[in-house]
């Protein structure tokens, strides 16, 4: 190694310079744990999500569940508190939209018309009467159910929408401002629970920060300790550790420089580099000390140079080889479409490369410029060997006695593992990243059980031209679909839909008149019309009713006659002629009802039975009975809480007329429907939101399918349906993870196979090398399957990581085996010698990597904990398989490559 050794000071300066450069980049590090950014921007699910947010506004909703410990929500003190909290949150700069009990409008019908007012007005004083009115208002429209009140009225929610454009820091700021506000509540006993996508994103980032701070020092200590126990020499331990710290700084610095944000899995990068990268330095350092130890006199400057150069000559190749296979294993993850996984693959590969470069340049330079220190030559190696020999040997003898036994065992383990593999649940539930007892898990559970949940997806219904979404046929089909989803799927807690608002306005506008007022109104209108007819009135718009324009008319009107003024007076007749039974359904409902009239038991029985006849289930709830009675009596327009669909029940004669009616209803919402429709009057696209009480992504799949099937079957032609939203992005993410995992395993295995086959100049060598790995990978999945560890963003990487690291064991073993095999034909001696030398190295390495990864057990995140455990297990299984299964197979099949000399010397063993 010429560069590293010729000018050691220069090398050290350059390496330190580069390290300083990257260290300066570190403050630029950004975090991004928004799941929406985990799938590539060009992915259809991401595009659909983006389109929907652009059209209907963002839907990153934070839910704050507030449960009162004293009294329920219908209590003046509690309402004052909610009002205060709402105002404080509304004042926060980035809180785009805040919805709570105290700032929500209520639309109701009155005998005269419509009244829109806040649920809780400014003059609300909290009297018993007001509280009862509030309760009945909330109960009168089910849109508030599970949103503003829980079933037992003990809890309410404040929903805060986070704007789409916020970066990680701004989200954190807003989240903690809200948390501070909640924490500042003192005089009212309550519990609050904050959950939802923004909370998860923020908490992923903050917990990740604390993970990094605790885990990195911990892994360094653990690896140092393991290495020290193995080498029992400080120098042999400090230098390799230094190289991995340097390479970690390069890697994370490079990410910061290239503005690649760190996500939760990136926490593993430094841990992995420390655990894995130290191996390269160890090769060099241990060789060096072996050489130094061989001499019993003082090592002079020149002698040391010789030793270093000799060491580098011998070690360079195996180190590069080990580095290359590891880079191949990790690099395979770069083919993943899952953004954090791809970045992880790219930058761990870069990190390993950096670790290799630093190891082969920095370490020899340091060794050369170290202060001369006379040292006694030790015989450390034997001491180390003693401990391991017996174990490895007994292991060998156990297997040697029955090669058949080991094969049968292997096959058995394989079969059981394949079964276990089939049990692996593929589900990337972000909330389950957090520990079971974490606040956010508990908050999420609270919102899922008391309210409509934190997960949802949107259904966008698209017509072909503006106004298509006022067609009663599609709106009725949408409304039916809402009921279908809620009834058929337990996971569906609510469906909020554009159609709900049309139904409500239809109800409000068809509120039956009071007896007295209706009489007055009729008198007034019939009296007034004649007196003033035909005087001094002109319209700019000429229409068929014959008003002449003050200007020369250009005909602004479409000229189409609507069922409006001209046929006004005929309407009643029209209705009657259409209904065979004399009095029309419309008239029956809209005729004034005397709610104060004397009521007989007979009347009541008849009413109850008529209402009951409307049920779709013989066993019904009290709530449903009340609904049916209200409908029967058209109490407050209850008979009209529906999409105006049947022309027999409404003034317009046909569906087109009803469609216009719906546009006119929309006019009354005066453009406040932006969240649900793309146009204030004649929408072409509208939205429904299906809320779920699930945590994972896989439960949403059958429901999404049901939506599409329902639409295919029952929606009229000319409408398309698109499902989008966070639940679907997560579902897409899960699928991408599965794809990415399969692909990266195949690529890792093939690359490793090619490298080994090339080195040994033998295809068979490649096959033998990947057998122990394949075994370890299968067992890994079996462990996941039996232990119920889900396949998520980090466990999906375990296999590729295991291949990248574990291949070294097979290569080490095969190289030494080959070396020994050339020396003797006695296979037992070959195996014993191989285990005696390389077995020790493999064991050291596997233990130190496993121990390094095991610190992830202390992570705040479940996936990282599982990743740590699983890697530790695969280190054990792959090293064990390399040392047991591999020799048995080599003895059994006696492949040619292992006994013939290779032109180029294969990798050597430390």
């Amino acid at each position: 190694m010429s560069f590293g050794t010729r000018r050691p000071w220069l090398t050290i300066a350059v390496i330190l310079g580069i390290t300083a450069f990257f260290a300066l980049q570190l403050p630029k590090t950004t975090l991004d744990n928004d799941v929406m950014n985990f799938i590539p921007e060009e992915h259809p699910a991401s595009q659909a999500y983006q389109r929907t947010s652009d059209l209907f506004g963002g839907n990153l909703v934070l839910g704050i569940g507030i449960e009162f410990k004293r009294a329920d929500i219908f209590n003046s003190k509690n309402i004052d508190l909610i009002r205060g909290l709402t105002q404080q949150i509304e004042e926060l700069p980035n809180a785009e939209d805040v919805m709570s009990l105290t700032n929500t409008d209520f639309i109701e019908g009155t005998a005269e018309g419509m009244k829109a007012s806040p649920l809780i007005g400014e003059d609300f004083e909290g009297t018993e009467e007001e509280l009862r009115t509030l309760k009945s208002k909330l109960l009168s429209w089910d849109i508030y159910d599970k949103t503003l009140y829980s079933k037992d009225f003990s809890a309410t929610q404040i929903l805060v929408t986070f704007p789409d454009g916020l970066d990680d820091e701004q989200r954190q700021e807003l989240y903690f401002q809200i948390e501070d506000i909640m924490q500042s509540v003192e005089d009212v006993p309550l519990e609050y629970h904050i959950a939802g996508n923004p909370a998860m994103t923020v908490l992923l980032s903050t917990n990740m920060r604390s993970d990094l701070v605790t885990l990195i020092p911990m892994v360094i200590v653990v690896v140092l300790l393991t290495l020290y126990l193995a080498f029992r020499r400080l120098g042999g331990v400090l230098l390799p550790t230094l190289t991995v710290i340097v390479s970690s700084i390069w890697t994370v610095g490079a990410m910061a420089m290239l503005s690649v944000p760190l996500s939760i899995v990136a926490t593993v990068i430094p841990v992995l580099l420390v655990a894995v990268g130290s191996a390269y330095g160890i090769h060099i350092v241990s060789h060096y000390f072996d050489e130094v130890d061989r001499c019993s006199e003082d090592v002079g400057k020149d002698r040391r140079r010789e030793i270093v150069e000799e060491t580098m000559r011998r070690v360079r190749r195996p180190v590069l080889m080990a580095g290359l296979t590891t880079i191949a294993g990790f690099g395979a993850l770069a083919t993943s479409q899952v953004v954090p996984m791809r970045n992880f693959g790219i930058f761990t590969a870069v990190g390993v490369l950096a670790a290799v470069i630093v190891a082969v340049t920095f370490i020899p330079s340091i060794l050369l410029v170290r202060k001369d220190r006379t040292r006694k030559c030790e015989d450390g190696e034997d001491g180390g060997k003693e401990g391991y020999h017996p174990v490895l040997m007994s292991l060998y003898h156990f297997f040697d006695k029955g090669r058949v036994r080991i094969l049968i065992l292997a096959v058995l383990v394989g079969v059981v593992s394949l079964y276990g593999m089939s049990l692996v649940v593929k589900d990337n539930a972000i909330i389950e990243y957090f520990k079971e007892d974490s606040n956010v898990r508990q908050a999420d559970r609270f919102l899922r059980t008391k309210f409509s949940g934190t997960e949802f997806f949107d259904v966008v219904i698209r017509g072909e031209k503006p106004g298509d979404l006022t067609n009663p046929e599609i709106l009725k089909a949408m409304d039916d679909m809402s009921s279908y989803l809620v009834e058929e799927y337990e996971e569906v807690t609510r469906v909020n839909s554009f159609a709900d608002f049309i139904k409500r306005m239809n109800q409000v506008m068809n509120y039956p008149p009071d007896i007295e007022e209706s009489a007055q109104e009729t008198a007034a209108s019939s009296g007034g019309a004649k007196e003033q007819e035909g005087t001094g009135f002109s319209s700019f718009v000429s229409d068929d009713s014959g008003f002449n324009s003050g200007f020369s008319s250009e005909g602004f009107s479409e000229g189409q006659s609507r069922p409006s003024e001209s046929d006004q007076s005929d309407r009643t007749e029209n209705q009657q002629s259409r209904s065979a039974g004399g009095i029309s359904e419309h008239q029956r409902y809209l005729s004034p009802v005397d709610f104060d009239k004397q009521f007989t038991y007979g009347d009541f029985a008849r009413l109850a039975n008529r209402a009951y006849a409307g049920t779709d289930n013989v066993e019904m709830t009290g709530r449903r009975l009340i609904e049916l009675i209200n409908k029967e009596m058209n109490y407050r327009g209850a008979a009209y809480y529906e999409i105006p669909y049947d022309p027999a029940k409404y003034p317009p004669e046909n569906r087109q007329g009803l469609s216009n009616l719906i546009s006119q209803y929309l006019l009354l919402y005066s453009g406040s429907m932006d969240e649900w429709a793309d146009d204030a009057l004649e929408p072409e696209q509208v939205k429904m939101t299906v809320q779920l009480n699930t945590t994972g992504s896989r439960e949403s799949k059958p429901i999404v399918e049901a939506v599409h099937n329902y639409a295919d079957r029952y929606f009229p032609d000319g409408y398309t349906v698109e499902t989008t939203g966070s639940a679907l992005v997560k579902y897409a993410l899960t699928n991408l993870l599965v794809d990415a995992q399969t692909r990266s395993i195949l690529i890792s295995l093939s690359l490793v196979f090619i490298i080994v086959a090339f080195t040994f100049r033998s295809v068979a060598a490649g096959i033998f090398a990947i057998i122990p790995l394949g075994f370890a990978v299968i067992i890994n999945f079996a462990v996941m399957g039996f232990a119920g560890i889900k396949l998520d963003i980090s466990t999906a990487m375990v296999a590729s990581l295991a291949i990248g690291i574990g291949i070294d064991y097979a290569i080490h073993f095969m190289s030494t085996y080959h070396y020994e095999r050339l020396r003797t034909d006695d296979l037992e001696t070959v195996t014993v010698r191989t285990l005696g030398t390389t077995g020790k190295a493999i064991t050291f390495n596997a233990v130190s990597v496993a121990a390094g990864f095991a610190v992830l057990i202390f992570s705040k995140f479940n996936p990282l904990m599982y990743l740590g455990v699983l890697i530790a297990i695969t280190m054990f299984t792959s090293s064990l398989a390399s040392m047991t299964l591999l020799p048995v197979l080599l003895e059994l099949f006696k492949p040619k490559f292992i006994s013939r000399p290779i032109r180029q010397k294969p990798k050597e063993v430390v």
Binding site: T110, M114, A524, G550, E565, Q664, L667, S670
Partner: protein
């Protein structure tokens, strides 16, 4: 606040007022203050009645357009202003009629007639800050305002939209009275027409900008003919173009009644 603090702040205030006074004298006294500018805007003659045909063009951020056409009659009277809006386009809301009767000292009365329903319904709603027909104008934007509700500052004089203007900032006295935290208006001198208004949202961010590109003198009254309101946060904008206009038409009271809503005849 403690006694000393109060005295201290009073002292500051006094000193500040003195400074303002000196600065005012030194600046050769603009003959008018902010409040007077706005009073001139609100008080300028605009006829007893007004009858207009207004085309509204909604333009979204990608540039696609939608048309609305409304006709509007309004009449000033002692007991409050009255106005009728008849919707002409889109066809689905054609002949929907809307009556507003302002009541001094209490909420306005509003009725709407939906032709497809054949019923007149009274509307009781505080919808001032919601969008008018999906445009970038809110109901409040389209109403005249009560000068008493805000405080005004004349910021400077400068040219805008090709005219010499007074630039006046208005801040609502009660923040809950307005959907905006403040407005800055460029009022054309002599004719007292605001030619540009910047609206700031509650968070203090610039939210919407209204600009007037054409002003005409119709029957002696200065009238903005082409007005654009742009939402600077979403990129959506609305153009209001007056297509027909007549002042001082003789409009009988029967026009502004529930009966007219129902029959279309006064």
């Amino acid at each position: 606040m403690t006694e000393r603090n109060t005295q201290f702040s009073r002292g500051i205030k006094r000193g500040f007022m003195l400074l303002v006074l000196i600065a005012g004298v030194a600046a050769a006294l603009p003959a008018i203050n902010g409040r007077e500018v706005i009073e001139n805007v609100e008080d300028k003659p605009s006829g007893d009645t007004m009858h207009s045909l207004v085309q509204m063009t909604l333009i979204d951020s990608s540039g696609s357009e939608k048309q609305r056409l409304i006709e509007n009659w309004s009449k000033e009277s002692q007991e409050g202003n009255k106005s009728i809006i008849v919707f002409h386009k889109p066809a689905s809301v054609e002949n929907t009629r809307f009556l507003t009767v302002e009541n001094p000292g209490r909420d306005d009365d509003q009725w709407i007639y939906l032709p497809a329903l054949g019923r007149v319904r009274r509307i009781a709603a505080s919808e001032g800050d919601s969008s008018f027909m999906g445009t970038d104008f809110t109901y409040d934007d389209m109403q005249s305002r009560d000068v008493e509700e805000s405080t005004y500052t004349l910021l400077r004089e400068e040219r805008a939209q090709g005219r010499d203007c007074y630039v006046v900032e208005s801040v609502p006295k009660e923040s809950s009275d307005s959907q905006y935290s403040r407005q800055v208006a460029w009022v054309a001198k002599e004719i007292w027409v605001p030619v540009r208004v910047d609206f700031y949202d509650k968070q203090g961010e610039l939210f919407k900008r209204m600009t007037v590109s054409r002003i005409e003198r119709v029957q002696g009254f200065w009238t903005p003919i082409n007005t654009t309101m742009k939402n600077l946060q979403t990129g959506h904008s609305t153009k209001l173009d007056i297509q027909r206009l007549e002042y001082n038409e003789e409009l009988q009271d029967g026009l502004f009644t529930v009966n007219f809503l129902k029959t279309g005849r006064p």
